[in-house]
Amino acid sequence: MLSILEQFKEALESTGNDEVYLAFDALPVRTKGKNFTVVGIKSYEASAPVYSPTIVFLPFRAEVEISVYAPESEPMSELYSYFDDTVRPAIDGISGTSGRLCRLTMKHDSNLRRLVLTAGFSVSGIRRIERAEP
């Protein structure tokens, strides 16, 4: 799970998004910037493993959530612009025949008192587990 999130974090950072955090980093919100991005996994589904003499391949599908947080007083248009400038290029770079943006929702988080723009990204991949003997 962590390696999937790290790949998304790396992609987001490569497009100039400095404030990227993983969903379970347990850092207090006040230490994060005005606008920040959180990457988490909403769902994960593995299919039957594929075997080779030395490696077991586990294909999976997952939905990764990329949430952009902004102060609640910020206009929605600014949050959309921030998303388009810092998050969208990374998402476009990862998109392909097996991964794509599947939803985009805006909501108000009353606990954190923030506006949140959440992008759901449907992704597939393969988990590799090395094994000593066939």
Binding site: S3, G99, G125
Partner: protein
Amino acid sequence: MSEICKREAVPVAIGQLTLYCESFRASGSTVLYEQPTVTGSTVVTNKCVRSSKLVLTGRICAGDAALTVLTVLNNMNGTPGIDIVYRGVRFAGCTVQGYTAEDRGDDMLYVTLTLAATAPAEDVEEVDAQ
């Protein structure tokens, strides 16, 4: 270690048309000619390797301009001697056996092209190295 897939559609040049393939299927078969023996068992007297069937599927997104592809596809139908390379594998001397081009009303043309390949597939890197 989990790795996410980042594959893009694969460009395949088919004559003057380049189709960005999102799906590719190759199938082959051999026909066995069987005869009964006097004891009632079966013996294979001959065999015939059928041509491989290659089905390439992709979408063309260019609004009304995509429909000009229809003319190209229509003219290509039945054309022999086409070489295609899909992800480093070359299929030489293919014949265009059929196509479908579907306009579903969303400014995209959904294209399926069926080719018949009689020559064996070749690894492009291996052939070029020789």
